[in-house]
Symmetry: C2
Subunit: 244 residues, 2 copies
């Protein structure tokens, strides 16, 4: 990636036009907030686009044709989320490719370091990412303008987590020896996800610098959020009968 794309999306001089569609004029007209939103939606868009590609190619290793179709359907839903976010950005005069560019390296690194070895690891990966993204979205919700909150809500409403959790439970019931392997895999997924999230946070002043800029201690908030995401993950692993 060259320096130009790494600089990412800056709010343009046409700040008024950019914010015109939103219901929270004060927040939306703040250029730091506008950049935060471009970053947030950029990383979500690239997460969905790359998630779509990875999940749909993993679908091929599903044990049955019905599972292949089921996983394909989830992948298609991720592409639909990518399209939703693209339209939302376009309505604010932001090009989705430009918004995604700064996050390509981190998200790709996450995927390269977490290539599923089989169908079960692929299911678990989709489950962990999906559930953690949901937690993250809900943690952000009250800091977003109405329109962006609505968008994130629509993405979060597609309840893939339930289907993936059910498939994992069935797989674990069929082969209890899977449990230790998937528990280890789950820990690796969360570790890599948080590593890349921190990298993004540092490079883009993403969470600490922007999201919690109005709080007394942004660093503590970030730490608390990460701890919360990890706790929720542990709870979900336990629900599957796995040691997190």
């Amino acid at each position: 990636m060259n320096n130009r794309t790494n600089e990412g999306v800056q709010p343009g001089p046409d700040g008024a036009e950019t914010s015109s569609a939103a219901a929270d004029p004060d927040r939306v007209q703040n250029p730091r907030y506008a950049r935060f939103i471009a970053d947030l939606l950029g990383v979500i868009a690239y997460g969905e686009l790359s998630g779509f590609e990875r999940l749909s190619s993993d679908a091929r290793f599903s044990p049955t044709l019905a599972d292949r179709a089921g996983i394909g359907r989830l992948a298609v839903q991720e592409f639909a989320h990518f399209e939703l976010v693209s339209s939302h950005l376009a309505a604010r005069g932001i090009d989705v490719e430009q918004a995604m560019a700064p996050f390509v390296a981190s998200v790709d690194a996450f995927h390269e370091r977490t290539r599923p070895a089989d169908w079960f690891e692929s299911l678990m990966k989709a489950y962990v990412i999906d559930a953690m993204s949901g937690d993250f979205y809900r943690a952000l919700a009250d800091r977003l303008d109405t329109e962006t909150r609505g968008l994130i809500g629509r993405i979060d409403a597609d309840d893939d987590t339930a289907l993936l959790g059910r498939l994992l439970k069935e797989a674990l019931a069929d082969d209890p020896r899977l449990a230790s392997r998937l528990a280890l895999w789950g820990r690796r997924l969360v570790g890599e996800a948080l590593t890349q999230a921190q990298r993004i946070g540092i490079e883009r002043e993403f969470l600490g610098g922007l999201l919690f800029a109005d709080t007394a201690d942004p660093a503590a908030h970030t730490t608390a959020l990460f701890a919360q995401l990890t706790r929720n993950h542990s709870r979900r692993m336990s629900a599957l009968g796995l040691t997190a």
Copy 2:
């Protein structure tokens, strides 16, 4: 694949119910026709499902994020076709997984023998398959009942071929050395496609035995159809400036 699935879909004893949705009662109530339709839609469904998986995983190698999104969109359209065919089969009391099963080996063999080495080969593969499928659908059209013809028409109406042809033309204009490589690749794709089509035709009495059963010389018809597909392919390659 075991013998049971290889036997594929037989029209059930409830032939009347199976045909009730169609407008051509004579044809649809014929058990040979019912089996032909289950086979035809089974191979189309599996072609779309596996095409979706292959194309969306190839999308990752697109040169730009915009191309990745564009190819992703085509892949999603293939999945939508799979869903359309599934519903059509379900409405006739046929399970899509059962209908696809006999064709998994041949279609997978085609994909394994035609793994694109890069983005250009991937584009060309999608283009050739898409265009040949369209030709094939149009050649069948007047032998199908109204409902099935409508379904095939909807699938064929999504004009991916135009977009893919345009992307290929751009790529060839940017790098004329591509031409000989892609011409060779195009020949290989058609060769493998016709090989697998013949294999399916022999195993399933697919084209010769069923489709042209009402003509004087079914074998000659099959040969003529294959010759027509090859001619159309040559014409398209020439339009791209390639030697077919």
